[in-house]
Amino acid sequence: MKTLYTSLVACVFGVGALAAMPAAADNTSNAQKASQKSAAKKDSKLMSTSKKCPPGNLHRSRCMIELLLEDLTANYGGVGGGGISSIKAASSTSYIVSLPQEERIDLLTYEFEVTADGSVSVKSKVASTQDVGRPSLTDNGVKK
């Protein structure tokens, strides 16, 4: 659709003409493009705080969950959804947070670093999406 129209315009006029075509214009700034790339993989917007936790796995996991909740509060932009539906340990040092939205579930996988002195910090955050329910239509109208 838009992609088809854009590419048709581009193949006749070359890229220079795109700016003149409202339907084809890409108004994304360079800064936004940079952040889009990171959004698909590792998210650079992370709370840099770490927590010093008492010994024991209960406290260690509590610290991890507190850190991820603080990061979620500061950086998760998906307003209007169903809140948090689960926080599940994916390993001893990682958690997956599920945030249901219309048509999808946003998944954030947090990997933590735990040092010998008991301090816990977020090492990485990876965003992904879980499909839900019946298939939705792609722009080609193909059910996937």
């Binding site: 992609t3 936004q32 698909a40 307003v79 249901p100 999406t129 019946r134 239509l137 080609n140």
Partner: protein
Amino acid sequence: MIVVSERVNTVKKTLNLPKFDATLNTDVCDARNNAELTLKLKLGFRQINPVGGAASGMYNDYGSATGTPRKIVKWTPGEWAAWKSNFVRSAQAFWHGKFWLVNQLGYFGYKVGAQIYLPNIWCRFEMVGSEASSGVHHHVIDVVRLDVTENWFGSHSTLYDSLDTRSVQKGTDSAGHAIMQRAHVHEVGHLLGLGHVDIGKAHCLATTNTNASACYGIADQDKNSVMGQGMQLRPEHAEPWMTAMREFVKVETKSTVYTIPPATGLQIALRVLDVLVPFVPKMQRQYPRKPAEVEARTLITAR
């Protein structure tokens, strides 16, 4: 009375396309009125009620075994009729009459007296909502009625909840302003064949999961699109009507009234584009054009 002395051979024709029925009506054409293309989407609605005839019960997000259960209540006939009527009326009003397709190649010519006109295409939308149990539908839509204590349910393109016609915040722009959307008009966009706003960009390739959050827009303008997180229409949302016109051009007999002359000079490159995209979407009324106006590529927005 204006006498239209010659028209295209087929005055009114309906094509049953996979996603909708499309009717092209050139009978309405005159010096001021374009051909009308009506896309008709037939939906069959089906109640989801608590099991066993109970007054209330639970139903999971997305209708999925792993979705969070939400409290639902039994539909009453009055609530059901009102919900369906509101859905159909508001979705139809949103998508109806917003686009004009500029007829670049002068198809469907007709005469008003001695003057030849080439019509543009006014894009109409009609939604028919009936019970899923009767008739033929393009889609069956299941609907849960949420209890008053619930404010959210996980919907998708064929499973809605009773709150999906309300305007709710779907995002926030770079200035911190709320971006509001009525979920059902976005979903009807999907049913017409439209995908999310950022499909095709680097962060939302068509080969990946196009329901990923980045596909709903990252730049403010894209977030505000109805196929993002907002309610704004854009010319590219006329694609379902453009798709229908590509089909009509294939099957319609050419009008004998007018044939566009071969392009010359600098116009040749433009003609290549016109052949590839014979109907260009606009969001402002375009009046039928005379041959010289089509050939000069002049848009007529007032007569």
